[in-house]
């Protein structure tokens, strides 16, 4: 596929690997924030192409992993109603709630549908006006504009039976929270390239200078990731701390102004709980009051739900880069992609699932 294959070229990855080897004089710990990058790193064996002195730790940039348990339980409660069609991206239907996942709700005969785009959910609402159609709106800044557009489009079509269960999270506040943890060992970040196609990278500049840390906006193919690591190591070795853009073919400094304007129209920034991490201030979106009619939490009475996490799962520490998946007693034993205890084992972008599938020897 054009613009993918050339960024998987083995000669280029070898060149970059050699350049990184020559450049590295001391130990450095770099975090890739995005689960998509974690998946690529494990799938293509990128750690094996790096000098032993470079450690990659995996960040919390997997929406499936950080969506709070309470939200999954709310989704399960709403989807288990007779007059509801519950729609979701495929990944979310297998995330374990306190008692069930959404797939179990579907197996019990309720109407749970996987969709490719939130606009598909709007079309389902238009064709099923006698039912309430709810879309599980999760994701980072990459996905939020699409979900905002679904709400605006439903309003434009005059639909009274469409709502979203909104659980959007934002990357920069998570970076701030990770760096504020005294246990952190992170010395540089590969920032999530697709988040930055929407948001640009100006908001990373104050983070980089405040925490004196290089932040490199990085793509997702092996050549992108190795080039991102090369730029981060170069900054570390030269004692620089700047925001740099590796992913120049799609990321502009200002991002996509039209998508950002839509976000500002539809959402307010609020404190959000992250599964396994806790509440991070100003780290997510909620629908603005004028869109309250499209807010599933307001339409359905799901306010008081008691949740229960697995006592074995260490997902929180894995998501903060403090522990690797194999440090968990349940990894590959009680917890597998078929029977996950925690969300990072569900999504292909979760660190635990990536280690399960691709890491042969631990």
């Amino acid at each position: 596929m054009k613009y993918l294959d050339e960024f998987r070229d083995s000669t280029l990855t070898k060149n970059l690997s050699e350049k990184i080897e020559k450049l590295t004089t001391q130990r450095w710990t770099i975090m890739e924030i995005c689960g998509g990058q974690t998946h690529s790193i494990l799938k293509y064996g990128i750690e094996e192409l790096l000098p032993e002195k470079i450690s990659l730790v995996h960040g919390p940039g997997c929406p499936v992993c950080v969506t709070p348990l309470e939200m999954i339980d709310k989704a399960v409660a709403i989807a288990s109603r007779e007059n509801v069609i519950f729609t979701s991206f495929g990944d979310m239907v297998r995330v374990p709630g306190s008692r069930h996942d959404l797939l179990a709700v579907k197996a019990n005969g309720f109407d749970v549908r996987m969709v490719y785009s939130p606009l598909d959910a709007v079309n389902i609402a238009e064709k099923n006006k006698e039912k309430q159609v709810v879309f599980f709106a999760v994701g980072f800044e990459t996905t939020a504009p699409a979900n905002a557009m679904a709400v605006v489009e439903a309003a434009r079509r005059g639909l009274k039976n469409f709502s979203i269960l909104c659980s959007h999270v934002l990357v920069p506040p998570a970076i701030e929270a990770l760096l504020s943890n005294p246990q952190t060992q992170i010395q540089a970040f590969l920032a999530a390239g697709h988040v930055c196609t929407v948001m640009g990278y100006e908001e990373y500049v104050p983070l980089s200078s405040r925490f004196k840390i290089p932040i490199v906006i990085t793509g997702f193919e092996p050549v992108d990731i190795l080039q991102g690591i090369y730029l981060a190591v170069k900054q570390l070795e030269e004692k620089k701390c700047e925001v740099e853009n590796q992913y120049t073919r799609v990321v502009l400094k200002e991002g996509n102004s039209h998508a950002r304007k839509l976000l500002a129209t539809v959402f307010d920034i609020v404190d959000r709980p992250w599964r396994g991490i806790g509440v991070i201030p100003k780290s997510g979106f909620k629908l603005k009051d004028e869109f309250a009619d499209y807010d599933a939490e307001k339409i359905f009475d799901v306010a008081s739900i008691s949740t229960k996490e697995s006592s074995l799962c260490i997902a929180g520490e894995v998501l903060q880069g403090l522990k690797k998946p194999y440090a968990c007693r349940a990894f590959k034993n009680n917890c597998t992609p078929e029977h996950p205890l925690g969300a990072p084992m569900v999504s292909s972008e979760g660190a635990c699932a990536a280690y399960f599938h691709y890491k042969k020897v631990i």
Partner: protein, 77 residues
């Protein structure tokens, strides 16, 4: 979940001014993609698409330059 893939714009439908749509080919698999946030996109150009929405145009010149710079990097060794 932020997975986004490059595709070539095959056609553009601007009949709804609030929801500009287009057919985008991903190596031959064609999907309807919203192009509302790319006002200056043209047929034949490549876009990066995510959950049915094009987020940005792919700067083809930039992509080629990146590849040739990285190739030269190896040739200089």
């Amino acid at each position: 979940m932020c997975l986004s893939i490059p595709g070539k714009v095959i056609s553009i439908d601007e009949s709804n001014p609030d929801l500009k749509m287009g057919k985008v080919s991903f190596s031959g698999v064609t999907k309807d993609i919203c192009l509302q946030w790319l006002p200056d996109v043209h047929v034949g150009e490549y876009v990066l698409a995510h959950v049915g929405f094009a987020l940005s145009k792919i700067d083809e010149k930039d992509a080629e330059e990146t590849i040739s710079v990285l190739k030269e990097m190896g040739d200089l060794e």
